[in-house]
Amino acid sequence: MDITELTVHELQQKLKNKELTAVQIVKAYIDRINEKEPKVDAFITLQLEEALKKAEEIDSKIANGEDISSLAGIPIGIKDNICTKGVKTTCASKMLENFIAPYDATVMEKINAEEIIDLGKLNMDEFAMGSSTEYSYFKKTKNPWDLTRIPGGSSGGPAAAVAANLVPWALGTDTGGSIRQPAAVCGVVGLKPTYGLVSRYGVVAFASSLDQVGTFTKDVEDCAKLLNVIAGRDEKDTTSVDVGKKDYTQSLGKEIKGLKIGVPKEFYGEGINQEVKNAILNAMEEYKKLGAEVEEFSLDVAELSLATYYIIACAEASSNLGRYDGIRYGYRTKNYNNVRELMKNSRSEGFGEEVKRRIILGTYVLSSGYYDAYYKKAQQVRTLVNNKFNEAFKKYDVLLTPTSPTTAFKLGEKSTNPLEMYLSDICTVSVNIAGLPGISIPCGVDSKGLPIGMQLIGNKFSEETILKVAYAYEKQTKFRENYKPTFKEGV
């Protein structure tokens, strides 16, 4: 039995039946990481010794018959923009290369309370800005399905790590598609919850009105389980919402007969790869077989949302990243004569190209003379996008779209053309603009054997519905039984 192939719910079962110990599980992952990490480069910081120690502690608690969480001893990987007390939290930036988080993010407190074991911090685009993880200051993560291709971004590390079985599941963040797009191109399940369902406290801010923590898992059941752990109102994040304690696994397996699925035709028109389109058409047929009512309709928000997104996200980023001044923490230049030079040179040397580009764009759209033409307009367009989604959800329970317009592209293919890179988010950003939940699940492979993802979008706080709909498809099509990453170079 390959322990690292198992889902979390399978691991839990084996822990419960005493077929496996926490130490055996962690050791299996350490072996796997030693074997595959040199090829995939998913981690920035590894915590393997500490992880093994925690596993030993948990095993002795189990041996002593102590009352522990049903998730105790399950490993996890964490995107490196989520603060982990006493452990480097770099945001994949030179700016935070030596930053050791003085406290845990709220989601980490929740993970620790369940005694889930952190194996390490995972790679990403610097400050979560990018769609390929190529903008990481430290390394380029490779896609386990073809090592010459990108793992998506910005949560490329978490997606690749789950796909390569380096961790059984992982936490990521999603501002414009940073969980769903990498999940799609790496063939795993990625959930961005409704804005406000999960606390952002202790998550390094990029665009605060759009950022949300979410999950990477091998299957939908694990997704529901991890959401159970991280969801909930937090007084330290005033945008978090109290929707009451829910068990998201409860809806799994319920019938979807008669459920209305809308497929917005603008989401799989021009610019969407034909093989991706075909996979979506097939998924529509599968849902019809499952008894859902599937219907095409018009929802013209994709392009509009992307334009709005790059104005709003960059504006918020330019403000959020103002805190990096080289004074209290982070990179400080050696080259300065006064405070102004200290700040300016620290920022100029500490940030990468893409981050600077976005700060400049954000500063531009907020500057006097352009504020009304861009920023205010974008906020009004945001209302328009909300209204259009509200209309759609009067008619449909769930919307079905591709997650990414293409399968994984080659490393280096888009990293020199920012606008082309931005277009990778065309199917996902509208979900952030409207604050909705979205899940990406695998729905087949292209002719090269690269995974294709489909996105299910729900109305606000309707995670149970999209999980149920995703689960029904997964049970029907069994992607994980049919396809596995090859770790080949060039397909």
Partner: protein, 95 residues
């Protein structure tokens, strides 16, 4: 909208960033590209629509103004690029 060289240098200065001379043209080109694309928002008539700031209802969230002690101040100072005793050290601000 056309962005000029002077404008981009002014914006970079506002953002506390230096742009190397040889990279100005590249930044200009990228910025122009993105702004041209973002101009889609100006093709929509949204003049009668309110603005949306966040995605949930816009209301104030109040809490009691209570002092809470953060015990581990040393861990904060450990991240300081330069410090003296228990203070952050920076160059002289007032001449």
């Amino acid at each position: 909208m056309q962005v000029s060289r002077e404008e981009i240098l002014h914006i970079a200065d506002l953002a506390d960033l230096n742009i190397e001379e040889e990279k100005i043209d590249k930044y200009l080109l990228n910025l122009q590209d993105i702004l041209n694309f973002a101009n889609i928002v100006n093709k929509q008539d949204v003049s009668n629509l309110e603005i949306t700031i966040g995605s949930n209802e816009a209301k104030n969230v109040f809490r009691k103004d209570e002092v809470k002690v953060f015990e581990n101040t040393e861990s904060l100072l450990e991240n300081a690029p330069k410090k003296e005793q228990n203070m952050f050290k920076i160059p002289k601000v007032i001449n």
